[in-house]
Symmetry: C2
Subunit: 104 residues, 2 copies
DNA sequence: ACTCAGCGTAAGGCATGACTTACGGTAAGC
DNA sequence: GCTTACCGTAAGTCATGCCTTACGCTGAGT
């Protein structure tokens, strides 16, 4: 269940901001840190959490590491939501049945 | 940005379990607590977080309070994911363009 | 009116987590 | 080869969060 780590990763505002910046454009660590109110090591730690969750990935380019978003990570979250989305719709439908007719 | 609270709410495993149980079937607090390894007040606190995030809602029924899932809460999360889903696809598309031709 | 079931809230303890500074390690440039 | 840029990790501090027990409130039944 990798979606568990994904939710935990995106629960932090700074980490969401990192993710959003990478979604807009792949970037090295330094570029992220310049646009954020935290230190560069803090960004590195956040990137580790996001990487472990499968939401981002690093691609070494010389001495730098270009981080970018992994579509599969978002797909996991979408899958989780869609599952319970269906459950809720089914439950709602059942409630309507119970309220209207109590038939069958 | 209510999705912020939603991510924070679903980041906790116990809270996700509560949400999943409510998605399967609306329930009062006591019924949830019986199936969980934590005390009833803990469940109440989790329900408050989920309620503040707009993910669940309570409907008083006599002395009990029947909790159920709010579709709008899940919709918020879906909207956030879909937004960055599109961004990632666009970025990926742009990378392909840069690699193949550098035209525009 | 009294009792009891069902919840929410307050207060406190303990773990988890986010940030900092300091350090080590690798790749590029002179 | 040596410096410099770029990055990850370690250690420590401080805040946040989850859980517990104890308490107070409301609605139903006798």
């Amino acid at each position: 269940m990798p979606y568990a780590e994904s939710f935990a990763a995106l629960a932090d505002p700074t980490r969401r901001q990192v993710f959003e910046m990478l979604a807009a454009k792949p970037m090295p660590v330094g570029a992220l840190a310049e646009c954020l109110p935290v230190s560069r090591p803090a960004v590195s730690q956040h990137l580790k959490v996001l990487t472990d969750a499968g939401l981002v990935a690093a691609q070494p380019e010389g001495a730098r590491r270009i981080y970018s978003v992994r579509r599969e990570g978002l797909a996991e979250l979408r899958a989780w939501i869609d599952r319970y989305w269906d459950d809720v719709l089914a439950g709602f439908h059942q409630d309507v049945m119970n309220q209207t007719g109590e038939d069958h």
